[in-house]
C-alpha cells in the first residue's frame, strides 16, 4: 500500500517509515501539516496517517476536515498522544477512520492500516463469508467447516465474523476489543486470548488443518491453510 505520513516528531516518523518500508509498503513523509492537501492531491494514497499536534499550533483535526472538504475519501488514521475518550470521538467526528494513541506498538499500527485499506472486499453486499473451507452464512447465521456444523454463541459469531472479514490480516487484541465488544479501554487481562482460544477449539477440530494463527507480539490472523 501507499501511505502518507504527517508527523513532526523525527524519531516517531523514522520508526514508522522504516517499519512500513520493511513491510514492503511505499511511504511519503512530511512534517508540515500545510503540505498535506497538495501531497494528497498529487498522488493516490491508500491511507493517510495524521498526527494530532503538529508544529505551529496546527491540529491534525483541521487538516482532516480540510481533506474531507476537498472530497478526499482516502482512509485516515489519527495518531495522537491525546488519549481521552472525547478526544477520540472528536477525531472520528472530524473525519478520521481510526484513532491510535501514542505510544503504540508498531504491529498495532500496521494491523490497523491493513484493516483500513482492505476493508471493502464486497462488504455489505455479501451474504456469506468464506476462508478456506470455513463458511459463514450471514443471513441464517450458520457456520460450517467442510460439512461439519459449528455452533457458536452470538459473541463468538461476532468474533469470527470480524476475523473472517479481516482474513489474511493481523488483527490485534485491541482491535478485537473495540470491534467485537465495543470496549474502548484496556481491561488489562488476557480475556481476549481466552475467547480466541475457545473459538479456535470450535473451528479447528483435531484432524483439521489450523486456520487461526497467533502472531507473536501482535494478535491473530485467520488464514486458509496453504
Amino acid at each position: 500500500m501507499r501511505v502518507l505520513l504527517v508527523e513532526d516528531n523525527e524519531r516517531v516518523a523514522q520508526f514508522i517509515v522504516s517499519g512500513l518500508q520493511d513491510a514492503g509498503h511505499a511511504i511519503d513523509h512530511t512534517a508540515d501539516g500545510n503540505d498535506v492537501l497538495s501531497w494528497a492531491a498529487r498522488a493516490a494514497y491508500d491511507v493517510i496517517i495524521v498526527d494530532r499536534m503538529l508544529p505551529g499550533q496546527v491540529d491534525g483535526l483541521a487538516i482532516i476536515q480540510a481533506l474531507r472538504k476537498s472530497e478526499q475519501r482516502t482512509p485516515i488514521l489519527i495518531l495522537s498522544a491525546l488519549a481521552a475518550v472525547d478526544e477520540r470521538i472528536r477525531g472520528l467526528r472530524a473525519g478520521g477512520d481510526d484513532y491510535l494513541t501514542k505510544p503504540f506498538a508498531f504491529e498495532e499500527l500496521l494491523a490497523r492500516l491493513d484493516a483500513l485499506t482492505r476493508r471493502t472486499p464486497g462488504d455489505g453486499r455479501a451474504t456469506w463469508l468464506e476462508v478456506g473451507d470455513l463458511r459463514m452464512d450471514l443471513l441464517t447465521r450458520k457456520v460450517t467447516r467442510a460439512q461439519r456444523k459449528i455452533a457458536l454463541q452470538p459473541r463468538e459469531f461476532k468474533l469470527l465474523e470480524y476475523l473472517m472479514r479481516h482474513a489474511d490480516q493481523v488483527v490485534t487484541r485491541t482491535m478485537l476489543l473495540e470491534n467485537v465488544w465495543d470496549y474502548h479501554f484496556d481491561p488489562q487481562t488476557n480475556v481476549v486470548d481466552v475467547h480466541v482460544s475457545r473459538l479456535r477449539q470450535k473451528i479447528e477440530s483435531d484432524a483439521e488443518p489450523p486456520l487461526l494463527r497467533t502472531v507473536r507480539n501482535a494478535g491473530y490472523t485467520l488464514t486458509a491453510s496453504a
Binding site: 481521552a84 459473541r155 470496549y183 474502548h184 479501554f185 484496556d186 488489562q188 480475556v191 475467547h195 475457545r198
Partner: protein
C-alpha cells in the same frame, strides 16, 4: 495597632456621650425656662409691689418697708436696694450700687459683693419717681452648687462611659486578637507545611467559633487531599520507577554485554514489556484523572446497567470457567440510569476481574437491581478471602496493594478506578463481608446526583470480617 474592635468601642462611646448630652440638653433648657424665668417674674412682681409702696407712702415709707423686709428674711437670699438719684444707698441690704448693673431699667445677672462674699445675683432694676433707683435681686449662691453638681454629674457620667468603653474595647480587642492570632499561627504553620494544626473551638456557637469550625473542616479536606497526593506521588515514584529501573538496567546490560542473536532479541522483548507496564500505569492514571475532572458527565446517556453487566459477565465467562469459577449473573429486568456505558463496563470489569483473581474458587455473582426509588444497585460478590475491615478504606487508594495482591499482576489502580467511576455517577462504593467472601455494591441514583446517604464510600462492619494480621500472613 489599629483594631476594628477598638474602633468599634470608640464609636460606641462617642454615641453614648452624645446620647448623654442629648438627654442633658432639655433638662438644662427646662431649668433655664421654668426656674430662671419664673424667678425673674417673681422679682419683677416684687419690684412692682415696692413701687406701689413708694407711690403710696413715699420714699420714707418704702425705706421703712425695705428695712422690715430685710430684717425679716432668714435665708438671706433676697437683695433689696433703694438709692437716690446719685446712686447713694437709702435703704436695703446691699452696701452700694453694684458697678455691673447699668443705669437703665431691666433685668441683669451680674457678679456682686454681698454679705461679705463675691457672688452671682440676678437683679431687676426699676427707676422710681424723684430720681430714686430700686434694685430687687436674688442671691444665686444657693443654686450654684446645684448647677455645679449637675455639670459635674454629667461630666462624671461621660467620663465613666468613656472609661467603660475603652475598657470593654480593649478587652474585646484582646479576646478577638487572641483568636485571630491563633488563626494566624495555625495558618502560618500550614503555610510552612505542617497540616496537622487545627483552630481551637469552644462549642459556644458564636460566629468566630463557627468560622473556626468551617476552617477546620476545610483543613481536614486539604490534609486528606495532600495526604492523597503525597501517597500517590510516592506510589508513582515507586510503581513507575521500578519498571523504569529494570528497563534501564536491562538496556544498559544489553549495551555493555552486546549479546548476539536470540538473547539480544529476548532482552529487547523484555525491555518492550517493561515499557508496556509503564504505559499501562500511565494510561490508568490518565484515565483516573479524566474521570476525576467530571467532564465525562457531559456525555451521560440513559444506560441499562443490566445490559452492561450481562455483557461484562459474558466477556469474563471463559476466563472464569478456565479458573473453575462459576460466574453468575442475576438481574430483575432492566436497571436504567444516567451514566457512561464505557466507564460502567470498565468499572464492572475491574470488579469481576478482582473477584476472579482473589476468589480462588467458588461462585462469583454479579447482580443488578433497580430499586423502587429508581436507584440502581450493581453488586459483585465472591467467596474469596474478603478484605479485612481495616484494609477496606485503603483498597480504593491509588496504588494501594494489599499483602494478598503482592506477587500478582496489577497496578493497584483497579478499585481506584471503580471508586472514581462510582463518584462520577454520584454513587458510593460499599465493601462488605459475606463471611466468607467480599461483596462490593455500587448504588446509583437515577438522576446521577449523589444521594446524601451515599455521599461517602463506606465499609460496613461484620463480626466475621477477616482480621488483617491473618490476611497478611496468607500466601500472595
Amino acid at each position: 495597632m489599629r483594631s476594628s474592635a477598638f474602633t468599634l468601642a470608640i464609636g460606641y462611646v462617642a454615641v453614648g456621650v452624645v446620647a448623654l448630652f442629648l438627654f442633658a440638653a432639655p433638662l438644662w433648657y427646662a431649668w433655664r425656662v421654668t426656674i430662671q424665668d419664673s424667678r425673674t417674674e417673681i422679682l419683677s412682681a416684687d419690684a412692682q409691689r415696692l413701687s406701689d409702696v413708694f407711690r403710696r407712702d413715699g420714699a420714707a415709707g418704702l425705706q421703712k418697708f425695705i428695712d422690715t423686709r430685710v430684717a425679716m428674711q432668714i435665708a438671706n437670699e433676697r437683695i433689696l436696694l433703694l438709692t437716690d438719684a446719685a446712686y447713694h444707698r437709702v435703704a436695703g441690704n446691699l452696701a452700694g450700687w453694684p458697678s455691673a448693673v447699668p443705669a437703665t431699667a431691666g433685668t441683669y445677672t451680674v457678679p456682686v459683693e454681698f454679705d461679705g462674699r463675691r457672688t452671682q445675683a440676678v437683679f431687676v432694676h426699676a427707676s422710681l419717681p424723684g430720681g430714686y433707683e430700686l434694685l430687687v435681686g436674688r442671691n444665686l449662691a444657693r443654686f450654684e452648687p446645684l448647677e455645679r453638681r449637675f455639670w459635674y454629674g454629667l461630666s462624671a457620667a461621660a467620663g465613666a462611659l468613656v472609661l467603660a468603653g475603652a475598657l470593654i474595647g480593649a478587652l474585646t480587642r484582646r479576646a478577638l486578637l487572641t483568636r485571630i492570632h491563633s488563626i494566624r499561627r495555625t495558618a502560618s504553620a500550614i503555610v510552612h507545611g505542617d497540616l496537622s494544626h487545627r483552630l481551637p473551638t469552644y462549642d459556644n456557637g458564636e460566629e468566630l467559633d463557627t468560622l473556626s469550625r468551617m476552617i477546620n473542616g476545610m483543613l481536614d479536606q486539604i490534609e486528606q487531599l495532600v495526604h492523597g497526593i503525597r501517597n500517590v506521588s510516592n506510589s508513582i515514584a515507586h510503581d513507575l520507577r521500578t519498571p523504569l529501573a529494570e528497563l534501564r538496567s536491562r538496556l544498559e546490560e544489553l549495551s555493555r554485554g552486546r549479546p548476539s542473536g536470540e538473547r539480544a532479541v529476548a532482552e529487547l522483548d523484555a525491555a518492550v514489556a517493561d515499557v508496556d507496564r509503564v504505559i499501562h500505569i500511565f494510561n490508568a492514571l490518565l484515565r483516573l484523572a479524566e474521570i476525576d475532572t467530571g467532564m465525562r458527565r457531559a456525555g451521560f446517556l440513559q444506560v441499562d446497567a443490566a445490559e452492561v453487566a450481562a455483557a461484562a459477565v459474558e466477556f469474563y465467562l471463559p476466563a472464569a470457567e478456565l479458573k473453575g469459577i462459576t460466574l453468575l449473573f442475576r438481574s430483575s429486568g432492566t436497571a436504567v440510569l444516567s451514566g457512561d456505558r464505557l466507564l460502567l463496563a470498565q468499572a464492572l470489569g475491574n470488579l469481576i476481574d478482582n473477584a476472579l483473581k482473589y476468589a480462588a474458587r467458588g461462585i462469583v455473582t454479579v447482580e443488578t437491581r433497580q430499586r423502587s426509588d429508581g436507584a440502581v444497585e450493581i453488586s459483585v460478590s465472591d467467596h474469596g478471602p474478603g478484605i479485612c475491615e481495616a484494609e477496606r478504606p485503603r483498597v480504593v487508594e491509588r496504588f494501594y496493594r494489599g499483602d494478598r495482591s503482592r506477587g500478582t499482576q496489577g497496578s493497584g489502580l483497579g478499585l481506584s478506578l471503580v471508586e472514581a467511576v462510582a463518584k462520577l455517577h454520584g454513587s458510593a462504593l460499599e465493601l462488605s463481608d459475606r463471611g466468607p467472601g467480599l461483596r462490593v455494591v455500587l448504588t446509583m441514583a437515577l438522576s446521577g446526583a449523589a444521594p446524601t446517604a451515599l455521599a461517602e464510600s463506606r465499609a460496613t462492619t461484620s463480626p466475621e470480617a477477616p482480621a488483617c494480621a491473618q490476611a497478611s500472613k496468607s500466601p500472595g
